[in-house]
Amino acid sequence: MTASTTPAPTRGALRRGGGVGALYSGNPQSVIARGFMATKSTNYIVVLTGFFEPIFYLLSLGLGLGSYIGSVDVGGHPIPYAAFIAPGLLAVSAMNGAIYDSTWNVFFKMHFGKLYQGMLATTLGPLDVALGEIVYALIRGGVYAITFMIVMQALGLNLAWTAMLALPAVLLIAFGFASLGMGITSYMKTFQHMDWINFALLPMFLLSATFYPLSVYPVPVQWVIQALPLWQAVDLVRGLTTGVLSWGLLIHVLYFAVMITLGLVFTTRRLRSLFLD
């Protein structure tokens, strides 16, 4: 080991100016690589559980309960119940995966591991950290989504070729939830605070027309539900896997694009004010 008198050559340092709070060094891939290494080292069981959960839901509710329900009307087309809720579950699992990674995982890394403190003492900026963590969560979420869609295909629940587009849609949804979730988590100080997140998610999960059509609600309530991100997600994925397309799907895409942008700005600012004051 030798003490060097020349500065360590860093790719990142060349790319950006900026002071203490410089945002980005173009190196989120190092944070992603860390995620893979951690998963390989210790976390693989958590990864497996996230894979099976939505499949169990699909089998029990879709095939079990679905045999009593028959079909549901989507945009004037009758759809078998299992094919109706499968895209809903896909959207929910995208949300849950993203939320889990961006809330509980981030909470631990922030308060117990002090992981981000260590990262931000290097040349990394807060946007590298936020992007790296979120993209890693997306890669994981993407693998879940692919396997779930293979199961859907095997059960004959993908009704149109547009189901292929559900995969990027799910990634978009997960990106939206993860970027906003990470910012919100930065305000959480205790385990009790973390329960509030579940408290907010559960009604959204049950009420966002995941298990039944939106039309069961009176019109004013429909507006409220339509404003929720999970309804936007469910309706987008359902449109794609059932092939009942409308221009409304583009509005959902736009909704998540805005959510991602706001979430990233918010999270990056929070990381900066927490660790680079």
Binding site: M1, G18, M37, G113, A121
Partner: protein
């Protein structure tokens, strides 16, 4: 003298209304081992964060390796090694992986990082623990791993915030030995501590900080000469009788200090002062003549009351 690697002038950091650091000025020369001493809450860690380019100063001037952290934060951090007060190793990764990943954060290539990781494991005497989980390491090993990690980018300056707090004597001595080797190789060390023996072991020069301000500055030996006497006599008479004995001791040595449990006589010749006390008819329960230490300087400058 070559131009300093750290230059702080009237450095100041306000949190809301309170000044954590208040007009601090100091310089650190290349290769020097520089200490920041002070009680808890003196502003040491805040100073370290500003020097580490992760905290923006409120006012004053600061130059690290000729750069202003307000302008070149990441460029400065690229050349610093940071050992924080509490270990923030990545517990989800194994020992060697911690080094690999940290090097990647700096944008170093895989090949460079892999080679450095092996050298540093060797340096930190952790080669046989390369595949261990971080949580299975002892406190001293974790500290050595944190130091190894801080060296992955070949830093020109190493910032150590209370490097041996909470370690047993064996672990502390191993750590001091490693840090001394770094110093021999020319790495500039900046150390905060409230352990006086650590400061005497590691630091060429130090400043004593209290309430965000510098109380004294100099080499450990020079500080002892300036703020204390060569020797100190510690006498115990029992807590009831200390005050009475102090009256009798007036004028012995350079200075007499009465503490709740004992009396300290500061004198250049401790044995002579002790003889004088006995000649005046005092019979202490215990007596001890010792060399003056940095601790005496520290307590004299920062006071004996508990700082919360």
């Amino acid at each position: 003298m070559p131009s300093p690697v750290i230059e702080a002038r009237d450095l100041r950091k306000l949190y809301k209304e309170t000044a954590a650091v208040d007009s601090l000025s100091f310089e650190v020369a290349p290769g020097e081992s520089f200490g920041l001493l002070g009680p808890n809450g003196a502003g040491k860690s805040t100073t370290m964060r500003m020097v580490g380019a992760v905290s923006t100063r409120t006012s004053g001037e600061l130059s690290i390796l000729g750069m202003d952290p307000n302008e070149n934060g990441p460029d400065i951090r690229a050349q610093l090694g940071v050992v924080p007060q509490t270990d923030n190793l990545d517990a989800e990764l194994r020992v060697r992986e911690n080094l690999l990943v940290y090097g990647r954060y700096f944008g170093l290539s895989r090949a460079v990082v892999a080679q450095r990781a092996d050298e540093l494991l060797d340096f930190a005497q952790l080669s046989d623990r390369a595949k261990a989980k971080v949580d299975d390491l002892s406190g001293g090993m974790k500290r050595r791993l944190t130091i190894a990690r801080s060296l992955i980018n070949n830093p020109r300056i190493l910032l150590l915030d209370e490097p041996t707090t909470g370690l047993d004597p064996q672990a502390r001595h191993i750590l001091w030995d490693r840090l001394f080797r770094l110093k021999e190789q020319g790495t500039t060390l900046v150390v905060t501590t409230h352990y006086m023996d650590e400061a005497e072991q590691l630091c060429d020069r130090l400043v004593v900080v209290d309430k965000g301000m510098i109380m004294a500055e100099g080499a450990p030996a020079a500080l002892i000469t300036e703020y204390s006497t060569r020797e100190v006599v510690e006498l115990r008479f029992g807590s009831e009788r200390n005050a009475d004995a102090a009256v009798t001791l007036a004028g012995v040595g350079d200075r007499v200090e009465v503490l709740p449990d004992r009396i300290l006589i500061y004198a250049d010749d401790g044995e002579a002062a002790l003889s004088e006390a006995v000649r005046r008819g005092l019979h202490p329960i215990t007596s001890l003549v010792r060399r003056s230490s940095l601790e005496d300087v520290f307590l004299r400058l920062t006071g004996r009351s508990l700082i919360e």
